[in-house]
Amino acid sequence: MTNVIEVSQLYKSFGQIKALQGVTFNVAQNEVFGYLGHNGAGKTTTIRLLLGLLKPDAGQVLIFGKDPYPDDQLRQALRKRIGVVLEEDFLYPYMTGEEYLIFWANLYSVPRQEVRQRVEKALHLVGMAERGRSIIGTYSKGMCRRLAIARALLNQPELLILDEPTVGLDPEARAYIHTLIKDLVASNNLTVFLTSHDLEEVERLCNRVAIIEKGRIVLSGTVAELRRGVQPELVIRFIPLEGSLLPEPVLQRLKALPFVADFDLREDVLHVKLIDSNQSPELISILVNEGVRISEVRQHIRSLEDVYFEIMRRHELAE
């Protein structure tokens, strides 16, 4: 499969601050790639490098096989293949939505006879057809975001770069934008690079995810692969014995088991993190032999959020 984005061994510093330290990842055609990280982890710097706004100190960025940084005619043509929604909308509040989109379409050299049609289509697509002739200054935050998405679609991009597209929006507006992105990807053969704090959003939209922390990619893969990368957790509900929830010898036995990474006792529920999920039957059998009366056993399905926080915790511990 062709890679739309290829990033290898990317370094970027701002004075003493090392924003990126050897970042490497690829985004394949038609893929929705999620890029996760805390504030200051290096997400915006990565986006600026992908857009050719910054020059790498070392390493390489290739978008459609070309370095996006030089400010020449070749790169001007490259930029016409990319649609961008940055973290803030940066709209002109004194224009109407329609005027703004016409300005943008012309800036991207959309053929004259198609401008009006594309603007109407983009407004319709983001559910703003009724408000196109209103002044942007009167729009809500959600409407501004939708207009920014409409702007990014005017040049019929092959690559869509979305920097926290739903930040600060109410749940209804977020759901609308999620559906919109899904529909766009399905119907337009788009490749999407998406950064977000919202793990649920990433889980819902992305095929693959990379987690960046302090300028380094700490983990990347599909959401399922990421889930597999963290220890499986078994949730065991039991009937408490008189006097104590679990006798001390049982707890000591659990601690001594080589395939148990960690466990946590919360009232009548035991959460056990296993090094290998294949050891679950053995664990159950040991507990039963110790006299624990088990009423329920289930494998905890780790959300991306659980995975993310565990990876961050491990990363902090390792440092």
Binding site: L53, D71, D72, K80, I82, F90, Y92, R112
Partner: protein, 261 residues
């Protein structure tokens, strides 16, 4: 002639800046205010001086009738351009950078120097007509006032007209374009805005004072603005644009984006 099927991004940017600035009342109010103030100040000051001098020496008064327009055309087109463009400079450069819209423009098919050039040309297109109106309004009103007071029409010298219509406004345009370039490259863009503000007022008041002093010390009968003066100013204009051309060619997106924050 066949129009190209696509718009040039540079022309699109210029048209957008002109169209949307021209729609804003503040642009008209501030520009008309500067014109009115400039014309009123220059005509009324000159008329009062001529009235007093006529009593002492009618011959000197006739000389001053011709000298005053030279003084005004040497300074005021330059300072009028600067003062009108201050508001536009703030809108198109300072706020664009502070509100980070510049970052979005940098990812469009516009090159960094085209963004700078587009904004500068828009400022020129929005301000220069007002400078021409100021020049013609002043010359017309001054001629009327002088004829009423002395019965003589002032004679305008060609070098003064060249400076007033071309040299002065272009020199001011070069200065504003330079401030625009600086705004793109420094993180404290408010400093460039403040410097542009003080420069325009400093030039207006300092220049008025200097011209008054020169006028008092000139040998009667001589012209203030001669061809060597006009040519020197045009050479300064050419040099300023050459320097700007070299600097804009070195505009670097990395440098600009680093200063956006």
């Amino acid at each position: 002639m066949n129009w190209p099927n696509e718009h040039s991004p540079l022309i699109v940017l210029i048209c957008k800046e002109i169209r949307f600035t021209a729609r804003r009342p503040i642009y008209w109010i501030s520009s008309i205010g500067v014109i009115t103030f400039t014309v009123w100040l220059s005509v009324s000051t000159g008329a009062n001086a001529i009235k007093e001098i006529t009593v002492v020496s009618p011959q000197l008064a006739r000389y001053m009738v011709n000298l005053f327009p030279q003084m005004i055309l040497l300074l005021y087109p330059f300072s009028t351009f600067l003062m009108i463009s201050l508001y536009l400079f703030m809108e198109m450069f300072t706020l664009e950078k502070v509100q980070k819209r510049l970052e979005l423009l940098l990812i469009t098919p516009l090159r960094a120097n085209q963004i700078w050039l587009g904004k500068c040309l828009a400022i020129f297109a929005l301000v220069y007509p007002f400078v021409l109106v100021t020049d013609f309004a002043y010359v017309g009103l001054w001629g009327y006032v002088c004829y009423e007071m002395t019965g003589v029409l002032p004679s305008l010298v060609m070098p003064a007209l060249v400076v007033g219509l071309i040299g002065g406004p272009l020199l001011a345009f070069a200065l504003i374009s330079f401030f625009g370039l600086i705004t793109l490259l420094i993180s404290r863009s408010d400093i460039a805005q403040t410097t542009a503000f003080f420069t325009s007022f400093g030039v207006t008041f300092g220049g008025s004072y200097a011209l008054g002093w020169i006028g008092r010390h000139m040998a009667p009968g001589t012209n203030l603005v001669t061809w060597p003066t006009a040519i020197s100013i045009l050479v300064m204009v050419a040099l300023s644009f050459s320097v700007l051309w070299i600097l804009q060619d070195r505009l670097d997106k990395d440098q600009i984006v680093r200063t956006i924050g």
